[in-house]
Symmetry: C3
Subunit: 139 residues, 3 copies
């Protein structure tokens, strides 16, 4: 049994879903591990992780439309507005999605379903650099 | 330290929560591993996983009522309607629940709480076959 | 490769986010494991786990304000009201947040981001004792 760790940095330029599937699955494949468990962990509270459909780009547009309506920027409900009208909505959106993802590794590959992609969901409108830790255990 | 992997197929016949507790905990028990971590992973983007109360069936009815109101079918907000009015809502519901679950194994058993059950949440109205990968590491 | 397990009990006194960061990271540090994966698992269906900002207390106030509006107590939509108007909302809030969290361990420490804290989210108004299982694998 062995472990591998890795870190990726995702440059973001405003609120949207960034496809990190190729980078994540590429690292898993290059690890040499055949069977195991990969875990992704994002070290932020205003950006999150999500597995969703990566075939039709409209899904990403609709996903953002939904979250934008559910957690509107500048909602007078919020008192934590230090960094602007998208500050607290970014924390709520993070709470409603994922800070970590676990994906099995089978036959030396991340066992994503046919239509699944791995996304980093940037919830702030500003540009940033987001850190995602990757961990793999197996043999 | 050792690993075990398994795959289960859950036949679904419309939108609802399907109890897979017995199948999942039975596999864990039969693995021979005493202490470890079990991870479930669903390879779909319009069905998800959820741990919730499995004692009173009304909880499942109410859970569906809530999600149905929060993410209504046929919402004019959505442009991704290729597979019908429940297509995009299924992706959103998946994003709001879980694609993977991790459950510790203690004393040779999945350490679920007294009232916890493991469910596959089918979000489409059509029938289908859903694949869930199981992974167990421990000793 | 080795495993460690632990259990913590969090006394709660009503609905709010309880910061368990110090207890969780302290245990990870004391384990002697340098690189690995820690998983937290809560054995309840009306309390959950959440990683979010732990710097400005207003974030916790706003988070609760959001969930209180999204899943109101006493909602006539719900039929499962056995334990009161906060019973079913507690199950829904649990479904929308996390029953388990995975956090990598690097250099002998839980690799939380700078502003991340680990919280137990009590969704009931009554007092209780909540069990969280901790599992660590690594070397």
């Amino acid at each position: 049994m062995q472990q591998k760790t890795h870190q990726i940095t995702v440059p973001t330029h405003g609120r949207k879903l960034y496809d990190i599937t190729a980078e994540v699955t590429g690292w898993a494949k290059s690890s040499g591990i055949k069977t195991g468990m990969m875990t992704l962990y994002i070290q932020h509270t205003s950006a999150s992780l999500l597995i969703n459909e990566n075939y039709d780009h409209d899904v990403l547009v609709d996903m953002e439309a939904f979250f934008n309506r559910l957690v509107p920027d500048g909602d007078p409900l919020f008192i934590h507005t230090v960094e602007g009208p998208d500050d607290m909505p970014a924390h709520v959106r993070t709470a409603l999605t994922q800070t970590h993802l676990s994906i099995p590794l089978l036959d030396g590959q991340a066992a994503l379903g046919q239509w699944q992609g791995v996304f980093l969901y940037e919830h702030r409108h500003i540009a940033g650099k987001r850190r995602v830790l990757l961990h793999l255990i197996g043999e």
